[in-house]
C-alpha cells in the first residue's frame, strides 16, 4: 500500500501539470481571437478531447508506439529514485492519456472566463492608459480569469483519479487504482475499503489546497 500511493500521486501531478501548461495557453489564444477559424477549431478540439475515452487513447498510443516506433513502455515499475528518465519515459503515455480530458476542460474554462474578463471596463482602462497588449492580457486579464479555472481543476481531480485507475490497469502500474481493481476481483474487502478511502481523502485534500490557493490568486479573499 505504501508503495502504491506515490505512483498514483505522481500520475495525477504529471497530468495536472501537463493539462495546465497546454490548456491555459490554448484557451487564451482562443479567447483573444473569438469566432475565427483557430477559435472554432480549438472549441471543436476541446469537445473531442472531452469525448475521447482515456483507455482508448492509451491503447492507441501503445499501438502506435509498438507498430511505428517499435517501443513499448517497460512492464515493471521503475521508481524515480532508481532512474528518473526511465520513470518519466514509463509515465509519459499514461499521464498524457489521463490529461487529455482535463486539458480540454481547462481550455474551455480559460476561454470562457477570458472572454468575460476581456469585456470588462478595467481592461479598457488599462488599454487606454497605454499598457501594452501583452501586459494587459497576462497581468490584468489572465490573472483574474484563473480562479474559476483553478476551481474546475480541483473539481476534476476526482475524474483524474478515476482515469488513473483505468490507466494503471492498462499499463500494469501498481498504484492505488490498480490495487483497488485487484482487490475487487479478489473480494479482498479490507484492501477495497482502504484504497477507496485513500482516493477519497486525496480528492478532499486537493480541494482544500484549491480553496487555499484562492487567497494567493486574489488577495481580496481572506482565509477564514
Amino acid at each position: 500500500m505504501g508503495r502504491a500511493m506515490p505512483i498514483t500521486a505522481e500520475l495525477a501531478v504529471l497530468a495536472v501539470v501537463l493539462s495546465t501548461i497546454v490548456g491555459i495557453p490554448l484557451g487564451v489564444l482562443s479567447a483573444v481571437r473569438p469566432n475565427t477559424v483557430s477559435d472554432f477549431s480549438a472549441r471543436v478540439g476541446g469537445l473531442i478531447g472531452l469525448s475521447v475515452p482515456n483507455f482508448w487513447f492509451a491503447t492507441l498510443a501503445l499501438l502506435v508506439g509498438s507498430l511505428v516506433f517499435h517501443w513499448i513502455p517497460p512492464v515493471t515499475w521503475i521508481p524515480p529514485r532508481q532512474s528518473l528518465s526511465g520513470n518519466l519515459g514509463q509515465m509519459a503515455i499514461p499521464a498524457v492519456a489521463i490529461s487529455v480530458y482535463l486539458m480540454a476542460i481547462v481550455m474551455r474554462m480559460t476561454r470562457a472566463t477570458m472572454l468575460e474578463v476581456l469585456s470588462l471596463d478595467y481592461i479598457r482602462t488599462a488599454r487606454a492608459k497605454g499598457v501594452g497588449g501583452r501586459a494587459v492580457l497576462f497581468r490584468h486579464a489572465l490573472r483574474n480569469s484563473l480562479i474559476p479555472v483553478v476551481t474546475v481543476i480541483g473539481f476534476q481531480v476526482g475524474a483524474l483519479m478515476g482515469g488513473a485507475t483505468v490507466v494503471e490497469v492498462i499499463f500494469g502500474l501498481p498504484g492505488m487504482g490498480y490495487t483497488l481493481i485487484q482487490a475487487i476481483f479478489g473480494r479482498d474487502y479490507p484492501v477495497i475499503e482502504v484504497s477507496a478511502l485513500y482516493l477519497a481523502a486525496v480528492f478532499v485534500f486537493i480541494n482544500l489546497l484549491v480553496d487555499l490557493l484562492y487567497g494567493v490568486l486574489d488577495p481580496r479573499i481572506e482565509q477564514g
Partner: protein, 299 residues
C-alpha cells in the same frame, strides 16, 4: 416580428432593421452547427442500433469465420479473436451503450429528483440530512464509486446500470434541490398554497412541470458521461459480460491481439468517441439555448 412599416420611418432605418435581423438569424445558424451536428450523430446512432441488425444480417455470436481477419468486403471491420464479425458486434454494442446510458440516467434522475425535491420542499432537518449524504457521495471520485458499487454487487450489465445511476444521482439531486428552492419562492406557488393546496398537489402540479427544463439539459449532458462510464466499467470487466459484446469489453479483448489485429482496437473506440461526441455537441448547443449557468459535468 415584422419589420416596422410606419410611414414616418425613413427607408434607410427600415433597411438597417432588415439587415440587422438577417445578421441575427445568420449568426444564430452559424453559432448552432455544433448542436445540429450532435443531433445528427445521435439520430444516426439510434438508427444503427435499431435498423443495423436488419441491414447487416450477421449474427454477432457466430464463430463461423477465420480468426483475426483483416477488414475486407465480407467483414468490413474484420473478425475478432474467436472469428466473430466485428461489424455485427459494433452494431450490437450501439444498442447496449444506448440502453445502459438511458436506463442509468433514468435511475439517476428519478433518485436525484426525489432526493432533491424532498430536500428543497421540506427544508430544515430533512434538507440537512439528505444534502450531507449527497456531500459524502461527492467526496468520492465518481468512477471509483461506480467501480466499488459495480464490483460489490457483482459484475453484470444490470449492476453496472444501477451503479452508474446511483453515482450520478447526487449531481441530479443538487441541481433539482436548487431549482426547487427557486420555484418554491415563485408567486404562483405561494398563491396555490394560500388557496389551500396540499403538498402533493403543489409538487405535482406546480413544481415538477417547472423542473422539466433544467432536467432536460442535465439528461443530455449526463447521457454522454453515463455511456463513457459504462464503457470504462466494461473495459475493466465490471460491466457487460462476454459473450455479449459491448464497446468497452471489445476494446479490452482487443488489447491481447493488438500487434496482430490493430483494427480491433480502433473501431469500438471510434464508436464510443463518436456517440459521446454527439451528446457533448448536443449538450453544448442545448446549454447555450436553455441555461448557460449549468456549467461543466462532474466525472
Amino acid at each position: 416580428m415584422s419589420v416596422p412599416q410606419t410611414a414616418g420611418t425613413p427607408r434607410w432605418v427600415r433597411d438597417q432593421v432588415v439587415v440587422g435581423r438577417l445578421r441575427y438569424t445568420v449568426s444564430r445558424v452559424r453559432r448552432n452547427p455544433i448542436g445540429i451536428t450532435g443531433a445528427v450523430i445521435i439520430l444516426a446512432t439510434v438508427l444503427v442500433a435499431i435498423a443495423g441488425p436488419w441491414v447487416w444480417r450477421v449474427d454477432y455470436a457466430s464463430q463461423a469465420s477465420h480468426r483475426l481477419l483483416a477488414p475486407s468486403p465480407a467483414h468490413p471491420m474484420g473478425t475478432d479473436e474467436l472469428g466473430r464479425d466485428e461489424l455485427a458486434r459494433v452494431i450490437h454494442g450501439a444498442s447496449v451503450s444506448l440502453q445502459v446510458g438511458i436506463v442509468a440516467v433514468v435511475i439517476a434522475s428519478v433518485i436525484g429528483s426525489a432526493v432533491g425535491i424532498a430536500a428543497g420542499f421540506y427544508g430544515g432537518r430533512a434538507d440537512a440530512i439528505l444534502m450531507r449524504f449527497i456531500d459524502i457521495m461527492f467526496a468520492i471520485p465518481v468512477l471509483v464509486l461506480a467501480i466499488l458499487i459495480a464490483g460489490l454487487l457483482g459484475p453484470s450489465r444490470t449492476n453496472a446500470m444501477i451503479a452508474i445511476g446511483i453515482v450520478y444521482s447526487s449531481a441530479f439531486a443538487r441541481v433539482v434541490r436548487g431549482s426547487t428552492l427557486t420555484i418554491m419562492s415563485l408567486p404562483h406557488v405561494e398563491a396555490a398554497r394560500s388557496l389551500g393546496a396540499v403538498d402533493l398537489r403543489i409538487i405535482v402540479r406546480h413544481l415538477v412541470p417547472n423542473l422539466i427544463a433544467p432536467l432536460m439539459v442535465l439528461v443530455t449532458v449526463y447521457l454522454s458521461t453515463a455511456i463513457l462510464t459504462e464503457a470504462t466499467l466494461s473495459f475493466l470487466g465490471l460491466g457487460t459480460q462476454p459473450p455479449e459484446p459491448s464497446w468497452g469489453s471489445m476494446l479490452n479483448a482487443a488489447r491481447s491481439h493488438m500487434e496482430l489485429a490493430p483494427w480491433l482496437a480502433v473501431f469500438p473506440g471510434l464508436a464510443i468517441m463518436l456517440v459521446v461526441l454527439g451528446f457533448n455537441f448536443l449538450g453544448d448547443g442545448l446549454r447555450d439555448v436553455l441555461d448557460p449557468r449549468l456549467g461543466e459535468v462532474q466525472r
